[in-house]
Symmetry: C2
Subunit: 203 residues, 2 copies
Amino acid sequence: MRTLKLYFLTNNKHKYSEILDIFKRVKTQIRIEMYSYPNTKLEIQAENLEEIVKFAVKYARRKGLDNFFIEDSGLFIEALKGFPGPFSSYVFKTIGIPGILRLLENETNRKAFFKSVIGLCLNGKTYIFTGVVKGRISEIPRGKYGFGFDPIFIPNGFSKTFAEMTLKEKNTVSHRSRAAKKMLNFLQNFLRGDVMEENKNTF
Amino acid sequence: MRTLKLYFLTNNKHKYSEILDIFKRVKTQIRIEMYSYPNTKLEIQAENLEEIVKFAVKYARRKGLDNFFIEDSGLFIEALKGFPGPFSSYVFKTIGIPGILRLLENETNRKAFFKSVIGLCLNGKTYIFTGVVKGRISEIPRGKYGFGFDPIFIPNGFSKTFAEMTLKEKNTVSHRSRAAKKMLNFLQNFLRGDVMEENKNTF
């Protein structure tokens, strides 16, 4: 099985560590490398993560890149009509966790989900993988791990917030890990297919 | 003086009416036409309106358009670190005016400004015009005119919100009118220059 080197276009080290952990846990010939990129140039203002990611992949392709992936994610809160959604990182930097909790004061519907969309560009073709985790917004922030809104998100089936989980625990359930596992699975099949192609040519 | 036809790339009829009013009030050979365009493809997620507008102009240029302009604007609230800023229309559609007022509950610093940035593409060249209006966020929404966060923005020197002003009143002070007047002024000079060029050629 030949090796494959993929660039992860991101400026977020947390995201990189999480996805790297997924790839490290299996025996694979795929190597991931972080590639810092001015995100502002990549992300469009769409209300749909798939659209943002597809555009970003196209944009990076036009810059001559290949064999890379991009990930975008958001926290979608039901009572806030999906806010902050695709704008989660900007909202985190401005009104932050206190702002979100204030907007949800006296709100009994605390349902929310995190969604991750990965856009992979492989040999010039684009593939999209998504991962979702449902949960609820806690009353107060808890935990020290992770990043962003992790201290106020409790995934269904758990009593801990994402920020109370280690990276490995978070990766058993998180939206990002779900999308990354789908991509990993695809890539492994792809590499196996590639080997068969090569074998065919050899015999 | 020859005529000039410019497309205003927007999906927002309010913005179109406001800018049209600026151009109608003077004797000019410039005609403005609204051109609906999928904004989601144009607007990047930057925290700086100029960057968003420059990218949008470039994007539209690449699609083969010329002699057009784009406008982007945002409400920047000091106590919220500039939130909602360039994401004002998304924030308006989700948490809306009640959300903003909630985030400012018990907040004595109600300072805010509206900023408008116009990107004009004329004969393949890009020109940027900006307009700012300082003011404060009202305690309750008031008024029925305008759009977006107009019902909670009181410009300095006024006691009315933007939504309590008619379009003409708003245009005497608004961020968008300030940017549009700069563009109008530039275009009139440009057209006058053009006539002189033609005269030179004729004589």
